[in-house]
């Protein structure tokens, strides 16, 4: 069964179609790439999937559930998590608090327990602390747990975004340009990390990326978007030789 099924999805902003008639199907455990020239509508697709935008037309089915128009936090409850192209961390909070906030939906104590400092509070907080620390460790951020997120270097901020997304315990992870601004070595490490977390957490991953070496290196299937439409999809090898893709990218970036 498909984990995510997108049918006839369209979104227009005051008449301008940003995404039109998108069809997409992702099976459990797949690692899919979403590529396309600048302004092709890739991030809009993410915003539609995660409920930031309400689709103009079409349906999104996730784990057999239709989820058009659900607010983003409910999409998160259903098991979809994302990172942001323009990093959106909670800058004035510590690194570990960033992760704890994402883990909040799994916390067991209620508001009154927290206010009255009942035993459930201490138990819950201890669990959060430990889990958050584990996530940080995976991304090598545990030594910076008590630093403010805004003080991290760029590459670590990107990794913290992924750690934070993972803390919501998703089944589908959407990564929006995770390698943006990283050097080749960092990109290489990130590639391995993505492969590893997929196995470790049983994840399905959909990623937007401009770095072709990363996309071609890790993705099993690729969707190519141009002017809001899917112009091609297939394995990396098929995509590389697809004339439509080459045309869309001509003068843009070397494949």
């Amino acid at each position: 069964m498909a984990l995510l099924k997108v049918e006839n999805l369209s979104k227009s902003f005051s008449g301008l179609k940003a995404v039109s008639n998108l069809e997409m199907e992702i099976k459990e455990g797949e690692l899919i790439g979403l590529i396309g020239p600048n302004g092709a509508g890739k991030t809009t697709v993410f915003n539609l999937l995660t409920g930031v935008y309400v689709p103009t037309e079409g349906t999104i089915t996730f784990q057999g559930k239709k989820m058009n128009g659900l607010p983003p936090y409910k999409v998160s409850y259903l098991g979809m998590a994302r990172t942001f192209q323009n990093i959106r961390l909670f800058g004035d909070l510590t690194v570990i608090d960033n992760v704890k906030i994402a883990y909040h939906q799994h916390v067991s104590y209620n508001t009154l327990t927290g206010i009255l400092r009942l035993p459930g509070f201490f138990k819950g907080e201890a669990e959060m602390e430990q889990k958050a620390y584990e996530f940080l460790k995976i991304f090598g951020l545990h030594e910076k747990a008590n630093e403010l997120a805004k003080n991290l270097p760029y590459g670590q901020q990107r990794r913290l975004e992924i750690a934070r997304a993972l803390a919501t315990k998703p089944s589908l992870l959407l990564l929006d340009e995770p390698a943006a601004g990283m050097n080749p070595q960092e990109t290489q490490n990130l590639m391995e990390l993505i492969r590893w977390i997929r196995k470790e957490f049983n994840l399905t991953i959909l990623l937007i990326e401009h770095d072709m070496s990363l996309v071609m290196g890790v993705c099993e299937r690729i969707y190519v978007l141009d002017y809001g439409m899917v112009i091609a999809h297939g394995t990396p090898d098929e995509i590389k030789t697809n004339p439509k893709v080459i045309e869309a990218y001509l003068g843009e970036e070397a494949i």
Partner: protein, 296 residues
Amino acid sequence: MGSAGDLILQQLINGISLGSIYALIALGYTMVYGIIQLINFAHGDVMMVGAYIGWFCTTVLKFSFLPALIVAMFLSAVLGVIIERIAYKPLRNATRLAALITAIGMSFFLEYGGMLIVTPQTRTFPSVFPQTVYTFGNVAFKYGDIVIVITTVILMLLLQFIVKYTKTGKAMRAVSYDKDAANLMGINVNNTISATFALGSALAAAAGVLIGVYFNTIDPLMGIMPGLKAFIAAVLGGIGIIPGAMLGGLAMGLIESIVSGIGYSTWRDAAAFIILIVVLLIKPNGLLGKNIREKV
């Protein structure tokens, strides 16, 4: 006599006079908001200062209406620029909250600093116009009504001309659209912002003098309520949009007059705030506003 039609017509006339004053103040709010996204809480108090300058010119210096108006407008424009340079300019890159609090502080400063200088006592504005009342059937309008409307119309036409056709006006529109790009195009952003404050403050001062002339009394806290209501008028019309401020001002004046006219004058201020909240909830960008969404 006393038919409902006459009553409505009478309130309509009062409403247009009051609304013209609100519109003049609202223009300053909307222009400043349009250019630096700041609710200039001190704007109503600049209006108060303008009223006092007008009062000083007419009582002490024995000026007639027009010279007093021009002096008040000019000096208030200078005050507006000084306020901007001292209090707001250092905060151009600070948070919205910091700027808003500074504006509130500036408002207090003018109100209570004003009290220290001119005492809290209410002053009577001399009658610079004949107290003639024209009656048409059962509907009366004062000489002052006509002066207010004519002054407002002239000032608004002047403002439209400045904003649309002068270099400064074009620069203002460019800066409100995109400050950085305007800067790159060689527009002096600081001077343009100062010019906006000068224009807005001059209009507020005109409103202040008109209030003095129309209601005869002025006091240091007179700027608070008209200031808030003019701000509501600006929001009602769509903040940042000049025709919106004019429309919103007139609408506010009319609504207030009607609420008073049907015998609920103690609820007049509440009506203004209820309108504000209803507008914010239903159409937060105002009657003439466009939808803007945050980019994700």
